[in-house]
Structures are given as structure tokens and as C-alpha cells.
């Protein structure tokens, strides 16, 4: 988790179970990591069911863009998710590449 912070623009990250429990996190002091885990799993789960409802297939990632940052959630195996918070101007291409690698590592660790 702490390695991801070295990637420019990533401010926080968390590995969470798909049912919303925290596995590990590197978050800022003001964020309650457990609440963040439950919220992001719910967000991703709702996106999955919505896409399934419109028969759009499995989701690759969820990206939410806010005024002060972006939140990206990506699958890390069948039971976990990797969620990162980035600065608003962070380079999305590089970040997606890095979190893709990290998510595969997490999936392997959890196997």
C-alpha cells in the first residue's frame, strides 16, 4: 500500500473485501479507513449490479471524479478491491497502469 503513495498523484489507497471490510490501508489521518472500505465496496457493488442490469458485462473499474480528487476502484481477485484516491490533475494513464499491477499483486497475496 505504501508503495502506491510513491506514484505521483496518489494520496491514499486501501485494499478491501468486496463485502466492505478493510484488509489494509494507507489513508490520511482524517479518513476513517473502515468506513471508507464499506463505502467504496458499496459504490463498486452498486456499479456492478447497475451494469449487470443493463447487460453491459463485468466492470473493469469505477472512476469517480470530484472537484478535489478522483477515486478509482478496481478488482483485486474475486474477493477484493483496490481503491485509490488521487489528486484532481493526476495522470490517469500512469495511475491505472500502476494500480493494475498492484491489484494483481494483492490478488496473488490473497489466493
Amino acid at each position: 500500500m505504501s508503495d502506491l503513495r510513491k506514484v505521483g498523484g496518489i494520496n491514499a489507497s486501501a485494499a478491501v473485501t468486496r463485502d466492505g471490510l478493510l484488509i489494509a490501508s494507507d489513508v490520511m489521518g482524517e479518513i476513517d479507513a473502515e468506513t471508507f472500505a464499506a463505502m467504496t465496496a458499496t459504490m463498486t457493488g452498486a456499479a456492478e449490479t447497475a451494469m449487470s442490469e443493463v447487460k453491459a458485462g463485468d466492470i473493469r473499474r469505477v472512476i469517480v471524479e470530484g472537484e478535489s480528487g478522483k477515486m478509482i476502484s478496481i478488482g483485486a481477485g474475486s474477493n477484493a478491491l483496490l481503491v485509490v484516491l488521487t489528486a484532481p490533475e493526476a495522470p490517469l494513464g500512469l495511475i491505472l497502469l500502476k494500480i493494475g499491477e498492484a491489484s494483481r499483486r494483492i490478488a496473488k497475496l490473497l489466493e
Partner: protein, 205 residues
Amino acid sequence: MLLTERIKLAIIREVFEKGVFDAKKLMEINREDGIFTISGLRSIIVGTLSFAILHEAAEKLAGKAGPAILRAQGEESGRIEAEEGWRKNLEKFNLSFNLHTVLSTLPVIYAAVGWGKITTEGIDMETGEGTIIIKNCFEADAILGMSGEKETPQCYFVTGYLKGLLEGITGGKFRVTEKKCKAAGDEYCKFEVRRVQRKGSLVTP
């Protein structure tokens, strides 16, 4: 613990265990206005199957994250109950609001209102860590009744409730995990309780 406090706790346990306390006595029905109250609080009676329906609805909307919604609901309920129920009632009897008083009376009180048979003997009364066992847990029975046996533990609301209650009493941070569940084929539901660090960076539970 003071002797008077010990005696009072023993009396509370006796009152509930011997059936002197009858939840029905606290209920009032105003048929004219269609209002039902328990201890003066506006209430409704819904079957425990409502919990199973909530499970299904949460899973329909949030998929695999459905349990997170139920745990959050339970956690908030537990926290409010600690403050509005336990603190106020213990203060009314001039008893300390702490883990020991709550955990030593909780089993008889919750059994009297249908939560199941709770055992808190596996819990360290000072730290709150250990195991809580619930036989005939209402949430597990509701799931079994509605959709049959599941592969994994199902008492998400109760898991969240215990966490919220313990956090509301102590101000600390807890992790509650359901290790065994009647809805998953076990004889009873078993919850493991651990303290975790409060907040901050790089948490590895």
C-alpha cells in the same frame, strides 16, 4: 467493583432470568389512533423475516457489498443503543456505564426481547476482546427461514450492532467477525471481538 453495584447487577439478572420482567407490560396500543408504543416510544412490530428481506434488497442493489450496508445499519443501531438505552438506564439505577456492567446483564436482557441466547463469558470484561456466542440468533434464523442454509456467516446486522455497542460503551475501536453461524450450518453463531487501532495511516489488521 462496589458491593452495591454487584448486588444491583445480580438483581437485574434475576429479574430477567426469572421472568419477572415482562416486555408486554411496557407495551401500549392506542387502537383509535393506530399508535403502538413500547416504554413510551412509538414502535411497530415486524417479523424477523424483515431482516432476511433487507439482506436480499441490499444484495440486489449493492451486489457482493450488500453486507456492508447491513453492518453499517447494525453499527449505528448499536452505537445509539449504547448511548440512549444502556447509558440512560444504567444511570437511572446508579450503575456504572462500562463494559462490565453491560456485558454481565446483556445476555438476560436481550434474551427477554428475542435476540437469542447470548453468552458473553468468552469476553474479557476489561478489554472487550474475546468471543460472544448467540444461540438461536434472530438474524440467522430469519435467513434460514427465508432462503435456507448459506455457505458463509450471515449475521451482518448483529455483527455491526456488537461493534457499534462496544465502541459506544468504550469510545475505542473494535473489529467484530462472525466465525460461526447457524445460517451456515453451525450449531450457534460465534463472534470474535478484537480491538483495533483507532484511525490513521497504514492499518494492517
